[in-house]
């Protein structure tokens, strides 16, 4: 005998099929994405969650926090059978640190279909590269007529008092100093001498990227080292800036996404990583945030590409961080920055 409840649910199912409504919702399920808020979280929602994941039946819930709480949560939950996140978004350096505790699933093409489209130099076995940018020299075009060509040029006394640095980017500023002093991603030793020289040239330090942008706008400082993507956003906001890809090389930053081993919905997590590599979604991030696509089949409009991408020759100078070295030296880098350079 068919009960009233069975009859109603069967009718609803038939009606849904007939009207072409997505019926996979229950199959996809909920995917919890640990991400930053702000522009990044909003773009994930606008470009990936709603147009790509929702029609496949996935319900996306963002767990918004900065990277440090997310790292802590991943490490604290690593012994639990079920974690709170299905996808974790972190920078490449942070993802490396967390991965040392064997927290993330291995990434392979069987789970992430679009992995074969990813630029080989950005691939990692524990994360997909979502977006990336490169550390360049930004300069004010009104004030700087002959721009520096290398990080080392930023130590020219003619720029005394006109270089500004963001305090929060101390690891990257330290790397720029190391490169200027003949060091590299695996040798930050020369940075300490160069930072002290920079200090004597009255380099200015600002507490945040926004404060640095305001100083560039008011022409309090004329030059800085910064992500090309952020330079693009600042240019869009009306600051007269241009960039130079330094001769010594251009350190890359890759924002990655991983699936924790204890994710409740691993299939959903991997589906999300696949969606993050979608060509259209990648173009959307470039257009709004200036970060470059990590896949080969997401060409950007010529004008946008000119502003946010690296040429082939410049891409050859892209420097991949030495994650193990940077992590091992992190406390010394922070201590030197605080105790010596900023003293």
């Amino acid at each position: 005998m068919i009960s009233r409840r069975h009859f109603l649910s069967a009718s609803a199912g038939v009606a849904a099929l007939a009207s072409g409504m997505p019926t996979a919702r229950a199959e996809g399920g909920q995917v919890v994405v640990g991400t930053w808020g702000g522009d990044y979280g909003q773009l994930l929602s606008d470009i990936i969650d709603k147009p790509i994941m929702a029609p496949k039946g996935f319900e996306i819930v963002q767990d918004v926090a900065n990277a440090d709480p997310r790292k802590t949560k991943l490490l604290a939950e690593r012994q639990s059978r079920r974690g709170s996140m299905d996808v974790s978004c972190l920078s490449d350096n942070d993802a490396y640190i967390v991965s040392q505790s064997d927290v993330f699933e291995k990434i392979d093409a069987a789970q992430v279909k679009r992995l074969d489209k990813v630029f080989p130099e950005l691939k990692s076995d524990i994360a997909i590269p979502h977006i990336y940018s490169a550390q360049v020299i930004l300069y004010n075009t009104n004030q700087v007529k002959t721009p520096p060509q290398s990080f080392a040029d930023l130590w020219d006394p003619k720029w005394r008092g006109k270089i500004g640095l963001a305090d929060i980017l101390y690891p990257n500023n330290t790397l720029a100093a190391a490169l200027a002093g003949g060091g590299g991603v695996s040798n930050l030793d020369p940075a300490e001498k160069k930072l002290m020289e920079w200090r004597s040239l009255d380099v200015k330090i600002y507490p945040s990227n926004e404060a640095l942008a305001a100083a560039l706008k008011s022409e309090e400082v004329w030059l800085t080292t910064m992500w090309l993507a952020r330079g693009f956003m600042w240019k869009k906001s009306g600051i007269p800036l241009a960039h130079v890809v330094p001769k010594e090389g251009t350190p890359a930053i890759v924002f990655q996404a991983s699936v924790p081993k204890n994710a409740k919905n691993k299939a959903g997590g991997f589906a999300y990583l696949d969606a993050m590599l979608d060509a259209k979604a990648q173009g959307g991030f470039a257009d709004k945030m200036g970060y470059v696509p990590t896949v080969t089949d997401a060409p950007l409009p010529e004008d946008l590409a000119k502003q946010v991408s690296l040429t082939e020759a410049e891409r050859a100078r892209l420097l991949k961080p030495d994650y193990a070295y940077a992590a091992g030296r992190s406390q010394r880098t922070l201590d030197f920055w605080n105790k010596e350079f900023k003293a």
Binding site: Q100, I168, I205, S218, E220, R329, A343
Partner: protein, 276 residues
């Protein structure tokens, strides 16, 4: 009657003492760049925090700023508190609300306002430049004076309200009697008002001192990256260095110094007050 304090005590025990015990345990662990924290029972972080000249300098600077701000706040607050304490107008409650009003705005928002005023192209510099008072912008942001102004703006209402409550309880007749016996206004203040408002001065100063010692947002936003106080140093270790054990040890060091000065101040005052 004593049972009435049980709920509040339990809340404090659960929400303050509990996390503090946890943090003390963390402070005995060791930092690892890849695992972040390794279980240990080591006093190393405390030894490093106490012996590193960098942290010694920061704790001294923090103490100096806190004591200076407390003194300046007391000097600025006393006349306003006296006026408020003696006010008999029906508008008194409105004035109290107006005094409280700055506390309705968060420290970060308030500091953002100061930033707009103090910036190189902010209101102060623009106005002075336009008036021809200065020929080049003054460097106010990211200086100690900016932090002191910012901190005083935050703590001033606490001092005014604490002092005014005590001044209000001092009988007006005592002032009249002193004046009647030939004391000048200044003498009345020094010999009558100030001694009798001692409990308010002590309570307000301790409250303000503790707030100043723990200043974070104002120090970071107005002092800039080179300005050093303890709370930003604790944050640095926790968030930028991911070094929770060291951050926890520094937090306890800050707590210990603040408590030592607070207890010392309270005892010294109590002794003086008891002996007249």
């Amino acid at each position: 009657m004593a049972l009435l304090v049980v709920p509040a005590c339990l809340l404090v025990l659960a929400l303050l003492i509990g996390p503090m015990i946890l943090m003390f345990r963390i402070s005995l662990n060791q930092f690892s760049p890849t695992q972040l924290m390794v279980q240990a029972l080591s006093p190393d972080n405390y030894i490093k925090a106490a012996t590193d000249p960098y942290y010694q300098q920061i704790i001294l600077a923090t103490l100096g700023i806190a004591l200076l701000c407390t003194l300046l706040t007391l000097i600025l607050a006393f006349p306003a508190a006296y006026w408020l304490g003696r006010m008999e107008s029906r508008w008194k409650s409105l004035v109290v609300i107006a005094t409280l009003f700055p506390l309705l705005v968060g420290n970060v928002v308030r500091s953002a306002g100061w930033m707009a005023l103090f910036a190189r192209d902010g209101l102060v510099n623009t106005s002075l430049l336009k008036l021809g008072v200065i020929s080049a912008p003054l460097e106010i942001m990211y200086t100690t004076k900016a932090v002191i102004i910012g901190i005083i703006a935050v703590v001033l209402p606490y001092m005014i309200l604490t002092l005014s409550a005590v001044i209000e309880s001092i009988p007006r007749d005592l002032e009249y009697a002193a004046a009647n016996l030939g004391a000048s206004g200044a003498r009345v203040f020094w010999r009558v008002i100030l001694p009798l408002s001692g409990p308010g001065v002590a309570a307000g100063s301790i409250l303000v001192f503790v707030l100043c010692m723990n200043t974070y947002a104002t120090a970071v936003l107005l002092g800039g990256p080179r300005f050093k106080m303890m709370a930003p140093a604790v944050y640095d270790q926790f968030v930028r260095g991911n070094n929770w054990p060291m951050g926890a040890a520094l937090a306890f060091m800050l707590l210990a110094v603040t408590m030592a000065f607070t207890v010392f101040g309270s005892v010294a005052f109590a002794r003086k007050y008891r002996t007249g």
